[in-house]
Symmetry: C2
Subunit: 546 residues, 2 copies
Amino acid sequence: MSFKEKIKGIGGNASYEAKARVLREQLEAKIPAGLKLPPAILEDPPLDITRIPETCGLLTVQELAITELDATAVCQKIAAGELTAVEAVTAFGKRAAIAHQLTACLMDFFLDEGIKQAQQLDEYFQKEGKVIGPLHGLPISVKSHYPLKGTVGCGGFLVNMEISTEDCDMTSILRSLGAVFYVKTNQPQSVMHLESKSSYGRVLNPHNTNLTAGGSSGGESALVAMKGSCMGVGTDGGGSIRCPSAHCGIYGIRPSSRTTPTHGNLWYQHGQDGVFASTGPMCRSGRDMRLFLEAVLGANPSLRDPDVLPIPLKVPHLTQKKLRVGIMMHDGVVMPHPPTIRALNLVKEKLEASSEVEVVDYIPYDHDRGYSLIRELYYEDGGATVRRLLEEGGEDMHPLTEWVISPPHVKNHDAAQVWKLRHQRDDYRREYSDHWWSQNVDVIVCPPFQGTASPHDTTKYWSYTAIWNLLDYPGAVFPTGLVADPTVDIYQESPRPMSAADEYNISLYDAAIFKGAPVSLQTVSRRFNDGLVLAAQDVIERILQS
Amino acid sequence: MSFKEKIKGIGGNASYEAKARVLREQLEAKIPAGLKLPPAILEDPPLDITRIPETCGLLTVQELAITELDATAVCQKIAAGELTAVEAVTAFGKRAAIAHQLTACLMDFFLDEGIKQAQQLDEYFQKEGKVIGPLHGLPISVKSHYPLKGTVGCGGFLVNMEISTEDCDMTSILRSLGAVFYVKTNQPQSVMHLESKSSYGRVLNPHNTNLTAGGSSGGESALVAMKGSCMGVGTDGGGSIRCPSAHCGIYGIRPSSRTTPTHGNLWYQHGQDGVFASTGPMCRSGRDMRLFLEAVLGANPSLRDPDVLPIPLKVPHLTQKKLRVGIMMHDGVVMPHPPTIRALNLVKEKLEASSEVEVVDYIPYDHDRGYSLIRELYYEDGGATVRRLLEEGGEDMHPLTEWVISPPHVKNHDAAQVWKLRHQRDDYRREYSDHWWSQNVDVIVCPPFQGTASPHDTTKYWSYTAIWNLLDYPGAVFPTGLVADPTVDIYQESPRPMSAADEYNISLYDAAIFKGAPVSLQTVSRRFNDGLVLAAQDVIERILQS
């Protein structure tokens, strides 16, 4: 019986909740007894759980030290013979098990296989005296809808879960570069929420478990923030790398679409090509984003996938001319919450004080229209496919799934209506391009979200990331080092809503709720200027921290 | 009254034929009396009319000499001060007027404006002592659905004709590079026939007027073959540059889509993004294709159009390794007519005798499936838009328009069916990519069509070009120097049809009909290897002519 049949058959006519419980128990059973947290910790954890791996006593001092490293450091140490691949994956794997018990960040756990893979790499290194590739021995966590041979894969619903029989392009390439796999991470139903609740449970934000870790790559963001991984792989069709990275205080980039491999990913609307999801890294340093992209693009993914564009990553040296940075305080539709405004003001102040950059106010161009367009583009069939898949799997619809396929934004289209919609998309892109040039900026710094991480089940405005998906502008996020602070992050005067969405966002704000949430910002540039985004973000961060 | 209103109003409730007659008379009236051919020539022209410009007495010896030049030579002579822009456009413009009277290749004629533009360029050159751009003074003919300010533009139907109020991206860029405009060329109803009959008449093949000049850029191919232009601009969504170029014995390349500018072109299904039409040159030498592409890409079209991919043209030096050339004799569905098979055998023999290349037999991969897919992709609305536009314009449907929107290939789709179709497209592309690598070739040489140019109104199989549109593989065509010869191009034995389409193609063959038709071949490589196509075709041609 295939896993698919097994999943469909769980409990016969059992309720969805009963089926989901079986899945969660199957996963829990994969975590060795020696890595189980004591009930005392699980029963009453603090809101901020990021320190538990250090205090729970399950990791050695050496393991804790390894998990403090970023991916670049891990690769360097392994290549220098100072660390083995087995040590690396063991440390991150153990910490991942702890992270999962606290945040529900995983969908599969297979540390034993990871250790076997690592042993082979260590043997190769011993024998050949060199690494097999630029990611030799690096443990990489993988979002569930990337197939990885022999592990649980999920295309967003119960009905399209599988034990994958082969790698997708991305995991195959990462494997060839020397990466070691040990976990698959959680993602929401439909893979189209900016939160992450699935049959495997709800992913919690490690900095404040009352808040979401973001989505749809929320398993990754929680895991990386818990330091159960130093390099995760996410996908982003509306913010699914940037939002969770921002919410959890880590780094992530959504590359220009079709520059990185996506072929073979599990998905339920193949051929829906009105907007493309990108694949990219989620990690703990700016340099790690570059490490990942240079390694993956260096493997020439366009040679195996004719849909991949052979556009190299060019990271410019920003010394010859003054970088022009636009600051976008808000999108003209929804005002970010006070912590994000505080971070923007700080960045602006710091950049203005620097002689290295030129700062201008960036004016957004009709983001409301763009966001409506992309919402309509996501489900041109009016959500019929989603409803069918839920029914076929006997799966309850999550309220955020219902929201994402709801009219008036989403409606069924015939072919001529599909063309019309895509023509509107093309017009908007052209107009935006003209607008961009009129603003005289190289990059912009803007919110990645209308605030820090949200309370669970409340995320209903994606425009701060999704607008760049529609335009296909690359965007990266970075933690500012600030966290939401109820003593300072309060509205100075009663806010006046700019829109219904703004009114909703204001209603969500209560300074106390967001306590401790990381405040992140986003760096964006024009399509295919991915290298400029990375280089400029480095400069901006350096000035901000100076 | 706008031109659009005027067109719609011609003759009130007049028949389509009456409206079309008015358009043709308006165009005829633009040709000066001094450039009218004597009735004796027009009444009884020979089948091969390519020599008439030389013998009719309307062009001076110097003008005839200028029109023998290719575009590279024209640019070089102007840049060297050996030729003025006014002389160039005058010579080509006069010859274009003659060409039009014999082939119906134009939709607009405005030599006076071209001369004015040329005068300004000559003055610039005089004053500054340098050219304004790489195409300084080059007369370029433009297919009708490229808007060019102040001239007739046509999106394929009577109802979407216009006097354009601004340039599209391509003509704007060419203008900025120094090009001079003087004619717009004819194209078929719907811009989706591989022939060219419109309200402005039927374009004839200059080498044998019983045959089509090809389409949809058939006005260009006839004009360039008549030497009324040395550089034309066409579009190709299913063969519309390569087929007419092949039929008329000239050069043309369909670049990988979205690498050259298309924004602003007149079209009636904007947003239909299942396959993209490319824009490219039609000309009289291999080096002219390169001149055009290097000049246009050098203007960075992606900076104004966010849909253009910033992928540079890299023309490799093919000296370091042996070029692997696959010969595809047929596509497994329709066997080319004897003249084309003769040319393929000759190329194969010559290449095999050369030490410079390695020759292998290229096996096509399921072209029948691919061709069915692209036919379905062209009109995902089942042709409803086409029918509406014809009705709105009171325009009769041409039989080839009816054919192109006919079931079973064409049917109406809802959004989920559009996605499914595009997923099938993506699967085919991936499988084809794997297949390509299994064949171990750098480029292939294949027929550009299932024979030479066809008798009028018979062209119903596009797969020799359209398959590469579906795959987005760049393809160029070149004349072999052979022409159809009834004394040798006969079936050696009674052909056995491979398919219904083959049976139809065999039924069209009567050696006598095709007499004098140029025999051309096509060079194809993998997506984005446009520069390799150009470089390899140069090598292949050199070996063929040696």
